[in-house]
Homo-oligomer: 107 residues x 2
């Protein structure tokens, strides 16, 4: 079974979080997950971004520590690690997302 490793909380680094959010599509994906909660890849950004592009961005988001993936059958359900991030960097995610005006981006 395919696994989707995430970094442990004490290895989540600020500059990697900022890099993950420095791309408008990834910022839109995180903004969306913050509102909707868990989503499968096919549901992200209204299915308007190619799955291969989403998979690439999901990998960067997950490896930065921002998101986690819950496998179910052949699907992967993605969610923000809100509680973990709040413990590691209190207030950071809320502040960043309060300034995100990205709603919809297609590549």
């Amino acid at each position: 079974m395919r696994t989707y490793p995430t970094p442990p909380l004490d290895e989540v680094e600020l500059h990697r979080i900022l890099f993950a959010l420095s791309d408008p599509t990834r910022l839109a994906m995180v903004t969306e997950l913050n509102v909707t909660g868990e989503l499968s890849v096919g549901e992200q950004l209204a299915g308007e971004v190619p799955k291969s592009t989403l998979s690439h961005h999901n990998k960067i988001l997950r490896e930065s520590g921002l998101t986690a993936c819950r496998p179910e059958g052949t699907r992967c359900y993605i969610s923000l690690r809100k509680d973990d991030l709040e413990r590691r960097f209190p207030g950071l995610l809320d502040t960043l997302l309060s300034h995100s005006t990205v709603r919809h981006v297609t590549h």
Copy 2:
């Protein structure tokens, strides 16, 4: 005379700010400027990073909207656009820098 253009406030974009801060050396430069105020390139990071490297990073920081340069003779004095950034993204810079543990980075 060489000029150092900065983007007007309403063109400063969140994802470019985040990209500028996604590099540990640039995060250290901004953390330092936040503490010291204006610095010449030669004074940044205790002179331990090559000037060409600093110039490259200073360009990215300036073009993102984070910093400004005040030319004086052959020197360029760099400062954070704190007031501008606070108007554009209230609370963002303080929150980001409160989580920056970068103190000293050499490349």
